[in-house]
Symmetry: C2
Subunit: 338 residues, 2 copies
Amino acid sequence: MGATIRDIAEKTGVSITTISQILNGKGSRFSEATRNKVFQTAKDLAYKPNFFAKNMVTNRTNTIGMIVPEVTDPFFSQMVKGAEDYLNAHDYMILLCNSSQDSAREDLYVEELLHRAVDGLIIASPNILASNVFEQLEIRHKPYILLDCKRHHREEGNIFIDDYEGGYMATEYLISLGHTQIGIITSDDSFYSVEERLQGYLACLEKHQVPGESAWISEGDQTMAGGYFAAKQLLTTTEITALFVTNDQMAVGAYRAALELGIHIPNDLSIVGFDDIELAEYMAPALTTIRQPIYDIGKTAAEYLLKATQNPTEKIANKKMPLDLIIRESTQKLDARR
Amino acid sequence: MGATIRDIAEKTGVSITTISQILNGKGSRFSEATRNKVFQTAKDLAYKPNFFAKNMVTNRTNTIGMIVPEVTDPFFSQMVKGAEDYLNAHDYMILLCNSSQDSAREDLYVEELLHRAVDGLIIASPNILASNVFEQLEIRHKPYILLDCKRHHREEGNIFIDDYEGGYMATEYLISLGHTQIGIITSDDSFYSVEERLQGYLACLEKHQVPGESAWISEGDQTMAGGYFAAKQLLTTTEITALFVTNDQMAVGAYRAALELGIHIPNDLSIVGFDDIELAEYMAPALTTIRQPIYDIGKTAAEYLLKATQNPTEKIANKKMPLDLIIRESTQKLDARR
């Protein structure tokens, strides 16, 4: 066991109450000599305050709760890494919670994290959070950052991308290559971000007077398997020459479906993904995609949250993160194949 | 704020000390009527004990520390998910630490987790842990499970696979297909598990009297990029017809290298991976690999650890997890290509 406050008292002859106040930064009324003696002895004995006793005094845990929909999704694990790197460098740790995209589990996690007195929360959720979740957060005065949650119309602490713009960019690039029969794979869970990407796709088709068909829209789980089945359906029932897959994981599945059907990418089918996970540039052919700065999103969330814990009365800033079209090998001009 | 113990006292007229003892299961000397009254009132008020105050009494946090080398590696995120699913179902949470394979960071994390009084630790590390880490764990009587750490010759609490056997299996399968020029991609960090896989490869070549060449062994980072560079080097400087890549992530990079060199898998080159991450079956061609039950390894670690926290005097069991050769499309008979 490490040294206790009692050991410091024995060694210095100073009372436990006094030592406690000095070590907790509330000892200004004691002499400098006493304060120095206490600090030096604490250092000599390698004293570390008992975590729980200290927390009861400071009401701080140096712990941040982070809720993500799915840690095995490389998108979210990259986001966690960005947040963790920043937090660790500032002596904070992460209590990580995997909601499996289940909104009831998210509510439970928020409650449990508050019970553990985390200093703040980062919540990445594709769902609409229950209103009592926000009530709890407000009542306990806990700062929190929402990721992927623009739908809440909260005025502060949103780190977000413009999904609509991203969907528009992907579609416009395919139109610029001469494609007019452009399919889209969305998520079957009606996630806000995916819905926005779909709206961007539809708006872009309309703007360029490219008539769309409802048969070109297919849904699936946001997984490789989900992308596989959705693409298989699209590619067997329509004549599309291009496909916008609203997430890179699903694009992996779409590649597999095309391969099995003997459809060559990009000769027979151009594909644009979304996210730019690490795998994208290793796919065969390398995936053209809309890049989100995933690591930076996690890092920025952590940075804003720590700032909020230090300045609880100030509003937390919002930040829109940039999107980029990354052109690789999975797209080509329509006439190049004729 | 939730109800406090003071609220229960006001409502029941029972003293705070008595209530505290009753709620902490130490109230057998009080009448059943008093105990019932206290429990019922606590329930009515939705009383939750203050987390830190409770911890100071029970010395329990229902928190497990988990250290992994790299959370963005799908292998480890899958392992975390297995552990988390089990722990959450048993009312535990995970404090997750990403060591970035840095052994100094691992030591710091162990210290920090002990300071936060986690109830136990799961440590997945490719490194030899510093001896003072183990001393600290022993002194504080904290149960822990080692993953990927067979090298410590610890007598209990090891969940492991036989890496040597896995390397042997992969190599033997390639030999059974008629290959005699078989390269191998290992890790440049001299990880124990990878070293064992290499030893299995060498032993298998020797057993089948297939002469090996040192030029057939290439090293890289355990990432897609690492596999890419290592494969590029092997494929440009040797005449190998088969390749054992000791981790699936690296195999993704090896595919990319082969593609760029115009080497067709499996016609020109058979590849066997290791791990069976989710991506393996979506690769083009789908990857033949040695499957580890990754999710189950995490789950079993969590299960054994919770058992250990409940029975601190008993030894923690060891468990060897099974390996399987999963044959897909990336391997074929040598003469099939002639």
